[in-house]
């Protein structure tokens, strides 16, 4: 145990410090941009990124994964911040943490397997579209220079890495373009126009909200949505890091860790966050494998903000917009287009519906819920196709193929020809399974109907599970039972 902890912390010191530094630099623009999306001061996202990254380093279940303020979470907070203000967001962040700890305790991570991949693909695509849409007001119709700066930023972030990889390209764009803007005094909106940067460490504060039921009812829906979306993105990211490193991770511990991190962060003036797909990939690619890299990333981020805070407020918005456009392009799953062509129609529909609902409601959690429900319905519809093959020899012989349950009973009942009289009717269930009392009820009705015309019904081939249900629930064995009338 101690040995394992030691490797997780100090098994890769050099790689972790290097990768942590790269991540810290790449995190700064994102933390600021996500704060702006949420509608809060940049400090809220920066404090969150510091606190979440550092806490996760200690309590997370997936070493090498980076957690901080994220776009998915920021997008969910927008209405809460707009209608009720920052203090309610902090309270919601704390409650989010509590819910996620409970998720961890009750091993909710397992439920992930019920979320179809079409929904997950829809999730990341919707997230990418929303991040992009959130940038639009910051660059459309402001001035020509804004467009030029967005374009230059995009050129830098996509071209520079082809030749030079040691420093993250977004940071190069940030530093160079901020310097140029300050030097030439360009007329551009800056981070300072949208909020303030305080060069101090976060302090412990109770959120300034009335402690009553009304507050709880305001924050609860947001906290639930944040908890679910945060867990979803964190577990997806954990799977990606698992694959990249070829090592397994403890998903329930991660869920609990995310909860602890959010819980504490709320008290230190930070917004709720979760694991970041992009930053975690950067971390692993840069050689980060252990817990140390998240710790380095978080602490260095805070250090840089304290030292450079007065420069940070002069960062031109178009540069952040360019970086966020890059983030949204990187988040989007571009193979979705070939997926739409190749995947079964039902899956394609689920994917598109998930995206559409999120883009319409601006709420990732509603989209995921709708996607899961829709695919559940599709699944039921698909397996409820039941076949009854009929052979008319001397006796009537039926063979049932498929699943007999609430959704297939109607089809099942229609498939028999009840007009026979005084015959032997064989029904073979060898290729069928009865799942619930509706299924048993359907068998009952068929038997009764045949018996009304003095036919003898012989049921064969029931498997163990079906037989057990029939024994428990069926009435047809009792000869005096009448056909249920309705």
């Amino acid at each position: 145990m101690l040995e394992k902890l030691k490797t997780q912390w100090f098994g890769n010191v050099r790689g972790d410090i290097l990768a942590g530094t790269v991540v810290a630099l790449a995190l700064i623009p994102e933390a600021i941009a996500f704060s702006i999306i949420a509608g809060v001061d940049p400090m809220v996202g920066l404090y969150a990124s510091f606190s979440i990254a550092v806490i996760i380093a200690f309590v997370g279940g997936r070493p090498g994964m980076i957690s901080a303020a994220t776009g998915a979470m920021a997008l969910l907070m927008v209405p809460l911040v707009r209608d009720h203000g920052l203090q309610y967001l902090l309270a919601a962040t704390i409650l989010t943490g509590v819910i996620q700890v409970l998720f961890g305790v009750f091993k909710v991570a397992k439920v992930m397997k019920f979320i179809p991949r079409a929904v997950m693909i829809g999730f990341v695509n919707a997230l990418a579209i929303l991040i992009f849409m959130a940038q639009v007001p910051h660059f459309i119709g402001i001035n020509t220079l804004t467009y030029v700066f967005v374009a230059i930023t995009l050129a830098i972030v996509y071209i520079v890495p082809r030749f030079f990889k040691a420093i993250p390209a977004p940071l190069i764009a940030l530093v160079v373009l901020t310097a140029i803007t300050i030097y030439y005094g360009f007329e551009l909106r800056t981070v300072g126009d949208l909020g303030t940067i305080s060069q101090t460490l976060p302090t412990f504060l109770l959120p300034d909200v009335p402690a009553n039921l009304e507050t709880l009812m305001i924050i609860l829906p947001y906290s639930l949505a944040l908890a679910v979306v945060g867990l979803l993105e964190s577990l997806l990211t954990a799977n990606i890091v698992d694959d990249m490193t070829g090592t397994p991770s403890d998903k329930n511990k991660e869920s609990r860790g995310q909860g602890i991190a959010n819980f504490v962060t709320g008290f230190f003036g930070g917004m709720a966050g979760c694991a970041m797909i992009g930053q975690s990939i950067i971390n692993v690619k840069s050689g980060g494998r252990g817990r140390l890299s998240a710790l380095v990333a978080g602490s260095l981020l805070m250090f840089l903000i304290i030292v450079l805070g007065n420069v940070v407020i002069q960062i031109p918005m178009p540069v952040l917009v360019g970086i966020m456009i890059m983030v949204s392009i990187g988040t989007f799953d571009w193979s979705s287009f070939s997926y739409l062509r190749k995947a079964p129609k039902a899956d394609s529909v689920v994917m598109v519906v998930t995206v559409a609902i999120v883009v319409y409601t601006h709420d990732l959690s509603i989209g995921v819920l709708a996607g899961v429900l829709l695919s559940a319905i599709f699944f039921v519809a698909k397996i409820s196709k039941i076949k009854v093959e009929k052979k008319l020899l001397e006796d009537a012989q039926y063979r049932v193929v498929g699943q007999l349950f609430f959704a297939s009973v109607e089809d099942f009942l229609e498939k028999f020809d009840y007009e026979v009289e005084g015959q032997k009717v064989y029904i073979d269930f060898s290729d069928a399974h009865i799942w619930d009392d509706s299924g048993v009820g359907a068998v009952d009705r068929v038997v009764m109907k045949f018996k009304e015309n003095r036919n003898e019904v012989i049921i064969t081939g029931l498997d163990t599970g079906s037989q057990k249900l029939i024994d428990q629930l069926a009435i047809f064995t009792n000869d005096k039972a009448k056909l249920p009338s309705h």
Partner: protein
């Protein structure tokens, strides 16, 4: 004699041709063993995880890509083992090749994606430059 043969594959037709050459080298000695390496590219990790239901399914997909190569080995009764590495193809292959003692490394000349190759340079080129053992590039 080439006893320890490292065969780097990416599932393309080129890697099957490389496998055929590796077989020729291996048949020269009864003690020879071929190690087939496939690199699960970090650049595709997000995409692959997103599009596969579980890590088991993903592993199966990768094994399927190597399957034609494995068949080539099995058809000639060559002793072989399979290693799936995680990383960036070029450096990952070089690191693995230099960590273990191989007599020769066999690799196909071109991979799957010519656009990537234009921008990033070919994997086989990188491997030739930095591997410590002899390298056979199969056209």
């Amino acid at each position: 004699m080439y006893n320890q043969i490292l065969l780097a594959v990416d599932g393309s037709d080129h890697s099957v041709r490389a496998a055929e050459e590796a077989v020729k080298l291996a048949t020269g000695s009864p003690e020879s063993q071929v190690t087939i390496v496939y690199v699960a590219d970090h650049a595709n990790a997000k995409n692959e995880v997103l599009h596969s239901g579980s890590s088991m399914e993903l592993d199966l997909q990768r094994r399927k890509k190597i399957h034609p190569v494995e068949e080539t080995m099995a058809a000639q009764n060559i002793k072989y083992k399979v290693e799936i590495l995680h990383g960036t193809p070029g450096p990952a292959i070089v690191e693995y090749a230099n960590k273990e003692a191989f007599d020769i490394l066999v690799i196909g000349s071109r991979g799957l994606n010519s656009l990537q190759e234009m921008v990033l340079g070919s994997v086989s080129h990188k491997v030739v430059k930095r591997a410590n053992c002899p390298v056979l590039i199969v056209k």
